[in-house]
Subunit: 239 residues, 2 copies
């Protein structure tokens, strides 16, 4: 067999290897129940997202910033009437989010197992350092990956810096993830390969307008289990 | 001149390159003022540290976890009576901590400037990824450092992993920092050089018992400005 065209495959983690966004959605619903008496006609979701968006620049991504945004939303929507005990329940929801077992997505373990025989595997994930390290450990998938990069943002510069630091050959590098904004478009920009594997739900902050995809070259797969076969056939020709 | 014995110097950041612990102390005092009506005979400091210590395993280090611990302390000490508006003020204290200008310690810039001519410099700092990246950028010192590692804990394993990843020659590597627990003792354990430069105040969590230092070999300097001269003389002999 020839040397494979791709040598190193990097995976996003949240909603690519394991369930993430639904945990936030669920947490938000639990907060909505706690705050029901104060909500009136207000929709928690919109106000929360406003706080989250503003706070991203101060807190970055992750559960702790989410909880702080949720508390601020609760204070504003209740006009300061939210009770200490209710705030404590919101904090406890955050603590549960940070401690709950990792739900590895279907087909992930077997696909990583197959891929790890032929390729070097890497994780590139965005978020809170402490939380992401803990999730990788709890997922039981850590041993498949020879490199792990936890970053605060996924911009073209972020990827360029990673490529430089690890002496990665861009033409033999593939990024795989569920977010067009974070895992695909920045790679198109720096001239690397990217495979998009959509997850059934995407945080509004990660959504992209169709025109942003115009003229971009990347691959779309429905399921991570298709990746090994896809690499044997399609990407073998591109280098 | 001969090749210097030390090639790579890694610096801790908080309270080694810039002021950190006093910002937490100040924030705690501001919270104490807010919570004064509920405190009675209670001392905020002890109860807060209890929450912080318990929460470190869930939240990790950094301002966001500190704010969440502070809110939990406020709820408990006020028996749930703390007002929404008071919680908001605590969150605002956290936001100010994250946005305030970085106060680079005296002598740091000139020392880094001198050292960077002869040695490769690195930052190894513990804490929240987003916050630490922002502090490095705001400090204006980023360009002195060719490598930056932000880690969630500073154990001997953490340092061993960094040494492995960067192909660092342990005998030519020196760590410099203000915390015996995080910047000195783990280095003694893995057989690397360490210089302790004490800061005037140390968080109780970073304090070590005298017997932990028994038989450990490291150097103590009072001021970072002594480091260039010290390296020329003392450490030139140790390799």
């Amino acid at each position: 067999m020839n040397k494979p065209a791709i040598e190193l495959i990097a995976f996003d983690a949240d909603d690519t290897l394991w369930v993430n966004e639904p945990i936030y959605t669920e947490a938000q619903q639990a907060c909505e129940t706690i705050l029901r008496p104060y909500l009136g006609q207000e929709v928690l979701h919109d106000r929360l997202y406003e706080f989250e968006r503003k706070n991203l620049q101060i807190f970055g991504y992750g559960v702790k910033g989410f909880v702080l945004s949720m508390i601020e939303t609760a204070i504003e929507l209740s006009q300061g009437r939210v009770k200490g005990e209710e705030i404590q329940r919101i904090i406890d929801i955050g603590k549960e989010m940070l401690a709950r077992p990792i739900e590895v997505l279907e087909g992930v373990r077997e696909s990583l197992e197959a891929l790890s025989k032929q390729y070097e595997l890497m994780i590139i994930t965005k978020g809170d350092l402490f939380d992401q390290e803990s999730k990788i450990a709890r997922s039981g998938l850590g041993d498949f990956f020879s490199k792990v990069e936890i970053v605060s943002e996924k911009t073209p510069q972020t990827y360029q810096e990673i490529v430089r630091r690890h002496h990665i050959d861009l033409r033999r590098f593939l990024m795989v993830g569920n977010s067009l904004k974070s895992d695909v478009l920045p790679l198109c920009e720096i001239g690397a390969h990217a495979v998009h594997i959509p997850f059934h739900t995407t945080w509004v902050h990660e959504q992209v307008a169709p025109q942003q995809l115009d003229g971009k070259q990347y691959w779309e797969l429905n399921d991570i289990r298709e990746l090994p076969g896809f690499l044997d056939v399609s990407l073998a020709d591109t280098v």
